[in-house]
């Protein structure tokens, strides 16, 4: 498994984990947006940095190598795919606000779709790297 794929696995699993944590805060604990977003962002940043450092220590040579031409295509295509997921969430969030005039609900919808789009991006990277492009 290439370094790029391992990195994508780490980020995808991390986002699913912190995404579940965010959903628990909002849906189960009823935490307001401002209080839920701060721990979510902090967890995401800290765990991403720790995960990437651990990966880099396990493969120092690959970690400093730039993406090659095939990996760049994969990264571009996965980002393109993820943009549709994010756009869908934004449209749903705006529609939700127009109908219910609930800013908190819109915030949660957009942030959830941001998490989903990032997870989708890393998932698409894994799919395309395995498919070889």
């Amino acid at each position: 498994m290439s370094f790029r794929e391992r990195s994508a696995w780490v980020m995808a699993l991390l986002l699913i984990g912190v995404g579940a944590f965010y959903v628990k805060l909002v849906a189960v604990d009823g935490v307001p947006p401002s209080a839920a977003a701060v721990p979510f962002v902090l967890f995401t940043i800290v765990l991403s940095v720790v995960g990437q450092i651990a990966l880099a220590l396990s493969s120092p040579k690959e970690a400093v190598s730039p993406a090659d031409e095939r990996e760049r295509i994969v990264i571009d295509k996965a980002g393109h795919f993820a943009s549709f997921v994010l756009a869908t969430g934004v449209v749903v969030g705006l529609g939700q606000f127009m109908i219910r005039a609930d800013g908190s609900a819109m915030f949660h919808t957009v942030l959830t779709c941001l998490i989903l789009s990032q997870a989708a991006e890393y998932g698409a990277q894994i799919f395309l790297l395995r498919r070889a492009v």
Binding site: D68, E69, R70, I73, K77, A132
Partner: protein, 85 residues
């Protein structure tokens, strides 16, 4: 025919096997069994990309194709061929 929705096309268009054949594996073995990783290092791609090229699942760029050919001291068409219509 209806055009495929572009977000799905972004993922599916990459799975088509390109109509390009190559003799990379054969030339590697003929040139002292140079490893996939060593060839990748020599041309600036990962070992996984060399594997994908050898399996015919990825068509390298023109620049990488030339680099691969030069590693083997061969011409481009000695390494790559066209297998389409």
């Amino acid at each position: 025919m209806a055009r495929r929705f572009s977000c799905c096309a972004a993922l599916s268009s990459m799975g088509k096997r390109p109509p390009i054949t190559n003799r990379v594996r054969e030339l590697r073995e003929a040139n002292g069994g140079i490893s996939q990783a060593a060839l990748g290092d020599a041309v600036g791609v990962t070992r996984q990309t060399i594997i994908a090229i050898e399996q015919g699942r990825y068509s390298p760029s023109l620049e990488t194709s030339f680099r691969i050919a030069r590693v083997f001291g061969a011409g481009l068409e000695d390494v790559f061929g066209w297998d389409g219509e």
